[in-house]
Symmetry: C2
Subunit: 327 residues, 2 copies
Amino acid sequence: MPTDKLGIDKLVSGILASNKRAVAKAITILENDLPGAAVLLDQVFTKTGNAQLIGVTGPPGAGKSTLIEKITNHWLQEGKKIGIIAVDPSSPFTGGAILGDRIRMKTISSKKNVFIRSMATRGALGGLSPHIREAMQILDAAGMDKIIVETVGVGQSEIDIVKVADTVILVTVPEAGDDIQVIKSGIMEIGDVFVVNKADRPGANKMEILLKSMIHSNNENLTDKNVVKTVASESQGIDELIEVLDNHYHEFQVTGKLLKRKKALLELMLFDIIKNHFANKTLVKIKESDQFKNLLNKLAKREIEPYSALTELAEENQILAAILEGK
Amino acid sequence: MPTDKLGIDKLVSGILASNKRAVAKAITILENDLPGAAVLLDQVFTKTGNAQLIGVTGPPGAGKSTLIEKITNHWLQEGKKIGIIAVDPSSPFTGGAILGDRIRMKTISSKKNVFIRSMATRGALGGLSPHIREAMQILDAAGMDKIIVETVGVGQSEIDIVKVADTVILVTVPEAGDDIQVIKSGIMEIGDVFVVNKADRPGANKMEILLKSMIHSNNENLTDKNVVKTVASESQGIDELIEVLDNHYHEFQVTGKLLKRKKALLELMLFDIIKNHFANKTLVKIKESDQFKNLLNKLAKREIEPYSALTELAEENQILAAILEGK
């Protein structure tokens, strides 16, 4: 970039100075694929890698937002800077309920060392939107010590949170025991730390025992200590949870597991760039060609088979030919 | 294919003869990407395109399964063959509830002209699994007159149902009014036919009026007639719903909108094949290269930027170079 017509240099300076408006503007640029997005990410990259990335997931109504609010307040008192990304499932049915959560979290959003942003779940290629990872990078470069991503665990894409977090907190409630037993192996793969929230309700101890027994039989990386009971609305169990989080992060650093996760995240990042180029350029060119339109007509009339159509397309397109040959 | 070592020819004969076991086996081959999957799809392709593809979506508890059971029984009496695909969201939290629905629908699964199959939501590339579309093709080739795909509308991937159906039925309940008003434009894009089920509950008329008013202001393709009240458990409103479905399908055929949807579906099919090759061959080769592993190490140490890493990769890989150049 010889000159900086888009003002990216200035924006990067703002981000590195933890300026809230600069951070917000940067995330908007990334979220909407505005000009300068790629340069922006490249420029902040070497300033990232310092924050602890924490995913919080669980069913609707488990009290995730309240729990995040309490953890955040705890860390604020320690002088930490906290970034929070609230991932809204792009669903027409649960929209209403989730809006309520967001409003509730606004009680901490006005604080100086907290940055909160709501983002939509899904990218053009499905799964957790790459923009969520990108926003985490901006928050990381902006000097956030902790970056919390909250997702509602109601679909596979939301559960992809494991791929972008150093530590995943799975929040559940005493009543969820039956559901969890049905699909226990899945749950155990997702979480590093398990919270039984609303633990003043009946069944909390039973749920705690269930989770611990599942840990014993399913995940050799975890111990009983990774299960915590909280009553987030009353601030009960928060100190204990913080300690578990700190211990988990420390152990991850010492054993090299953290580096492994960080590399997986970087791999995902590179592949998303490649996949985006492929979908938005290569495939769009194919789609807009007359040959493709003719082949679609033939397919609609069942005059040819799909693979014959692809073979014909590949004759005119070297990239496609190479891909279909498995190169 | 010179010989038929995998028995695909025999399987195709079975499918074309509406043999339930052949259909089940074919879907299993597709679902697990077993050898012969591509040949199988190509061989049945010219026998497809005859079934009406119906998507049924809506929030959990709206009574979708019961409604599908009643519609199915109606069509069975007309001598139709019905294929049903129940899409299970791949979620660890809602697993339990959905299992119950599936068991309920088994009351019709034993009937001769009904084929029911449960499938998982999600493909390797996110969104609605391509295997669901593939299974629809098998059912189509097997002579099903109607193919119903039921998804739970709790995530974007589930809502992708619009991309594979000729007609989408959105099932809701009287109480859902508030949620729907918040996100009305999304809802209107999804549905062709709107059902207020459990219409013996308070608020049914209000919900009906709300949906009709939203239709007027949001979607010029629809009219009041596309909103139907039912009490599926009592078989009320089913005849009316069937009439609306028939009318919608007929109008779609006459106006050419159906052909447009069918072509969009075929486009999706071709692009999925290409994307799968790309993800499973081209990208895997890059991932396994020593160069890539070295670059990941450098990225983890923040010694280079992501785009520099991609540029280095592209020097050794012509396909990647072409893609990054936007070819």
